[in-house]
């Protein structure tokens, strides 16, 4: 049991020890995507590649669905998930739009708006 109560920040996951334990296999798979050969191997057999790294059912489904929020919930770390996003040529506004339920144009407008006030 955690010795301290955790800080709750809405819409935000702190990647702490609990998440690092939970997401290890998923993050390790994403770390492998630093290699082009591994990226191609993933694309050739996504499910098999997930199995090779020991992803559980929740993590595998999140990866196959390319659902960033589900990957985060399954212990994924943003920096590692970004390497998976890179395979699909998703940029950070694609990823941001997906997580916030906005269109990419709406998400980009929100960023521009943040600079105005």
């Amino acid at each position: 049991m955690a010795s301290k109560s955790k800080r709750v920040i809405p819409g935000t996951t702190i990647f702490d020890g609990d998440m690092a334990r939970k997401g290890y296999a998923l993050n390790k798979m994403c770390y492998s995507f630093n290699s082009e050969e591994n990226r191609q191997a993933f694309l050739a057999d996504r499910e098999g590649y997930c199995a090779r790294f020991g992803l559980n059912a929740e993590q595998t489904k999140a990866v196959l669905d390319l659902s960033v929020l589900a990957m985060l919930a399954a212990g994924g770390n943003a920096y590692f998930i970004a390497k998976l996003g890179g395979i699909y040529k998703l940029d950070m506004q694609d990823v941001g739009a997906q997580q916030t339920g906005m269109t990419k144009a709406e998400f980009q407008a929100k960023l521009v708006e943040a600079g105005k006030n």
Binding site: R7, I14, F15, D16, L111
Partner: protein, 278 residues
């Protein structure tokens, strides 16, 4: 003894690498960001550093979660960049400075900062892009020392610890028996959040106050915990601890040379500050 000429802190958004590779500096999207640099280039031409100590965070190139040091330092002849998986161009290697690396290792550990030492170390965009931005034509003579802080897996080093670490780095550099001129860089931030329903979070008010306090009163940042900084600046905005460490190395009083702040570059509030030691 070596002299610290000043410090520069700057955002390290990966897509800056693509903008540089494609010569987009005057593109309307990128112009407000790149236009911040000429005054800093002019200052670098004046102070002529021989060595850059770069405080940054790795994003899963050199370090995975199998071994995650809170503080790590490179001691390598030459630092290589490599494929980071998201399709940004790999850049040419940077020269190391083994004498300064080992001087820092010896003195910082003696001073209570138990660094992980790396005789093999890949450097990611957080190290390479600030150097590319600050020396766009490359300075072939420039030597570098990477100092990596964990911003990946919590708990991260506290702001208080980072500032003390930076002060110890400054003290160690100034005790180095060399006539080298040293600049200390901090990279990352400012406010941004890539992950979760709060993705796209930016806090201009906090960033502007941070930029001001970084010059005049860096201890101001130590009132905040890491979770406070996540709340105020986003899950990746917390990279500003690299700026704080770099600032610590510059001593109590500095003179601001130039500041630039622009929203957005990718999902990030992009910041740049150059400070001269006095």
């Amino acid at each position: 003894m070596a002299k610290i000429v000043g410090g520069i802190s700057v955002t390290h958004v990966p897509y800056i690498g693509r903008a540089i590779a494609n010569n987009l500096q005057q593109d309307p999207y990128w112009k407000p960001f790149f236009d911040g640099f000429p005054p800093v280039h002019a200052w670098l031409d004046k102070v002529k550093p021989d060595v850059a100590v770069v405080v940054y965070n790795d994003h899963g190139l050199n370090f995975f979660l199998d071994k995650m040091p809170t503080f790590a330092i490179g001691a390598v002849e030459e630092y290589h960049n490599a494929d980071e998986g998201w399709g940004i161009p790999t850049v040419a290697p940077f020269k190391g400075d083994l004498d300064l690396s080992w001087h820092l290792i010896d003195n910082l550990i003696e001073d209570g900062f138990d660094l992980v030492t790396c005789q093999e170390m890949l450097v990611d965009h957080a190290f390479t892009l600030p150097l590319e931005l600050l020396w766009p034509k490359r300075n072939a003579g420039l030597r570098t020392v990477p100092i990596c802080q964990n911003t990946v897996q919590f708990p991260l080093p506290t702001p208080k610890r980072c500032l003390a670490f930076g002060r110890a780095i400054g003290k160690a550099i100034e005790s180095w028996d060399s006539d080298a001129r040293v600049v200390v860089l901090g990279t990352g931030g400012l406010s941004h959040q890539l992950d979760g329903e709060r993705a796209g979070f930016i806090n201009k008010k906090f960033d502007l106050e941070f930029l001001d306090k970084l010059v005049s009163d860096p201890d101001w940042v130590t009132q905040y915990s890491i979770p406070d900084l996540v709340e105020l600046t986003g899950t990746q905005g917390v990279e500003l601890i690299n700026w704080l460490t770099a600032r610590g190395a510059l001593g109590d009083t500095v003179k601001a040379i130039h500041t630039n702040y622009h929203i957005p570059i990718s999902n990030t509030a992009a910041g740049l500050i150059a400070m001269e030691t006095v």
